[in-house]
């Protein structure tokens, strides 16, 4: 067992034994290869199921507000950023929260592996290599080859706030700072872009896994469920699907922490992140704002600063 897992378990054991928290929210081994699953440990006997590796793909911040009592949470960079936004928006109470921070090298894009080897029968991860046995064949990957797209552009792999840090910290690569993916989409013609989103939106089945996996989509009543006024019908078609996603992106403007939880949750492989990334870039360029990078900051739309770049304003 590696030291990080050991330290997570020991920390959890102590916190629970001393009654400092009622529950530890972390990950345990899932039922499918290369899948971890969120787990809720309520007593120190349960801590040995906790794990940490490149399969821990869910954003656990999603659970914090809905879980009663005092809780500890295993947080990677993006989970901690979501927690920071939730704190800024008064959705959670800092004193009820103990953040076990772990720096994250990224998570595995299973979909990419599955597309090549078919159903995954067995898999193992060691030394940055992933060996997979699939129904259509076996293959060995370097982790970097199958790293989730989100993690390739991650600027905050280290938790931005934490009560305890476990393991080493990670240096952020310079290329992560760029928005090459967004620029590629921006450089397409309108009709190419339209085609792209048509294709993506035609895959959506409106299961709302993206919304529910998102730590920042916490509205008591989401606009899609509101029937007076009725923003959307139950019609599952490209136009309505796009309206849903466009609405969601707008609601996440200056709030989305680019964790990619929505994209990974989507059973249909819709490129939801393309829209979110564009908005993230715009907020960065226009307001010089990155969401949830510190506990103290304010959401972009809640604050006015005369120093915003705001090059969209017509100035005299």
């Amino acid at each position: 067992m590696n030291k990080i897992i050991n330290d997570i378990r020991e920390t959890a054991r102590q916190l629970l034994a001393e009654g400092k928290v009622d529950v530890v929210i972390g990950y345990e081994k899932g039922s499918l290869p290369l899948k971890a699953t969120p787990c809720f440990v309520h007593s120190s006997e349960g801590v040995d199921s906790l794990i940490w590796d490149e399969t821990c793909e869910n954003n656990l911040a999603t659970y914090v507000a809905k879980t009663p009592g005092k809780k500890a949470i295993v947080a990677k960079g993006c989970d901690s950023r979501a927690l920071a936004v939730l704190l800024q928006e008064n959705q959670i109470v800092r004193d009820d929260l103990y953040i076990i921070g772990v720096s994250c090298h990224g998570v595995i894009d299973q979909r990419k592996i599955g597309a090549e080897v078919g159903e995954i029968l067995e898999a193992s991860i060691s030394d940055g290599k992933i060996s997979v046995k699939g129904m259509e064949g076996d293959k060995e990957y370097l982790f970097t080859e199958v790293k989730d797209a989100t993690c390739q552009t991650c600027r905050y792999p280290n938790p931005v706030m934490e009560d305890l840090h476990i393991g080493d910290t990670i240096e952020v690569s310079q290329e992560a700072a760029a928005f090459a993916d967004v620029e590629a989409l921006e450089s397409k013609s309108d009709s190419e872009r339209q085609e792209y989103f048509k294709e993506q939106m035609s895959k959506c089945i409106r299961c709302y896994a993206c919304r529910n996996a998102c730590p920042l989509c916490y509205c008591q009543e989401c606009f899609v469920d509101c029937n007076s006024p009725r923003w959307l019908t139950g019609g599952v078609n490209r136009a309505e699907n796009l309206l849903f996603q466009a609405g969601r992106v707008m609601h996440l403007a200056g709030r989305c922490v680019d964790c990619g939880a929505c994209s990974r949750a989507c059973p249909q492989g819709v490129d939801i992140r393309a829209l979110n990334r564009k908005m993230t870039k715009d907020v960065y360029v226009m307001y010089n704002h990155e969401s949830g990078i510190s506990e103290e900051g304010k959401p972009a739309l809640n604050e006015y600063s005369a120093n915003d770049p705001e090059q969209f304003l017509v100035k005299e």
Binding site: S31, L32, T37, H42, R206, Y208, E221
Partner: protein
């Protein structure tokens, strides 16, 4: 009896003139059941579709009727348009799933015309699973990867030909077009027997689940079970037997349509009353509903469990909630005095 794939393909292509044909095809997103015009478009080597074929009888969003008011005149129009349809390549779990849906849409008091117009005008050509995914567990329910239950015609893929079993009258009408049927060779018969004997390697014991659930309504099991669920619709929408729906009006000015849309016990509007009260207002009561409905209520009402072990919900769930583990957990849960 067997038919060569060449002859089968010819019969299939000839059916296009009379039937809308739905078959598995490979698209950007995996395998999907879609309309095809020729056998050459059909994907023959596939595990199962990502989404269940139930939508062909029970669409996700369906217009039940439309209406218009002009002055004092109101006109109401039926929106039901149904074609004779062949569904080809349906796996045994899904064929069984359709039989379970039949029980929902028809009972001693009511027959759902929308569902049955389509169902009655369709012919199911089932195809056995030669390859079994690790998430398939149909054998748990007395079903089998080569079970013909629910199919009108059942095929077993032998490479260059299909073993053919014609099961119902509806099947007979279609199979009448199959030409040059011949006997299986001894080797082929052995292969057929092998495929018929196969079981899923993944199985869960459901022998005591229903009676156990009888005593579990207030069990603390539900308190912890639901914790990691994020309450999306993936499990219900990908399930061949889930059938909850909502009926609503989509109205603009003086005209509108009455539509039926899929609902799911995890969705926020599920069982929400007009008053704002919801008897199932948390994930605990929703997950209990999901389990109870599939493995208890449905058994009491219809004599069968309403899970066929297709494994779609296991693959699709964003938090890896695995129904096999949930059943197992219920089997093992400690009973409390209710």
């Amino acid at each position: 009896m067997k038919i060569s794939k060449e002859k089968f393909g010819q019969a299939f292509d000839a059916l296009v003139a009379e039937y809308q044909i739905i078959a598995p095809v490979s698209d950007a997103n995996g395998i999907a059941f879609k309309g095809v015009k020729s056998f050459s478009e059909v994907k023959q080597d596939y595990l199962n579709s990502k989404l269940p074929p139930k939508a062909f009888f029970f669409p996700q969003h369906e217009k039940l009727m439309s209406y218009k008011k002009e002055g004092k005149d109101v006109t109401v129009k039926s929106e039901l348009k149904v074609e004779n349809t062949v569904l080809f390549g349906i796996r045994p779990c899904d064929a069984k799933g359709m039989q379970l849906l039949d029980m929902v849409f028809k009972n001693d008091q009511y027959t759902d015309p929308y569902y049955f117009e389509r169902r009655d005008k369709s012919v199911i050509i089932g195809v056995a699973c030669n390859k079994i995914a690790p998430t398939c567990f149909c054998s748990s329910f007395g079903l089998s990867p080569a079970g013909s239950e629910g199919s009108d015609i059942f095929l077993i893929d032998l490479g260059d030909s299909y073993d053919v079993e014609v099961i119902t009258e509806k099947g007979k009408a279609v199979a009448a077009r199959f030409e040059a049927l011949s006997e299986l060779s001894a080797d082929e018969q052995a292969l057929v027997d092998k495929i018929k004997d196969a079981e899923t390697s993944s199985k869960v014991d459901v022998s005591t689940t229903t009676s156990k659930l009888d005593k579990m309504f207030n069990n603390p099991y539900w308190d912890t079970l639901q914790e990691k669920c994020i309450g999306c619709n993936v499990c219900s929408f990908s399930c061949p037997t889930c059938h909850c729906f909502d009926i609503s009006e989509e109205v603009r000015k003086n005209e509108g349509t009455r539509v039926r849309t899929w609902d799911a016990c995890m969705a926020p509007l599920f069982t929400l009353h007009g008053s704002g009260h919801n008897p199932r207002d948390n994930k605990k009561t929703r997950w209990r509903q999901r389990m109870m409905h599939k493995f208890n209520y449905f058994v009491h009402n219809n004599g069968s469990m309403s899970c066929v072990g297709c494994g779609r919900c296991i693959k699709g769930c964003p938090v890896n909630m695995d129904i096999r583990q949930v059943i197992d957990g219920a089997n093992k849960a400690e009973l409390v005095v209710e």
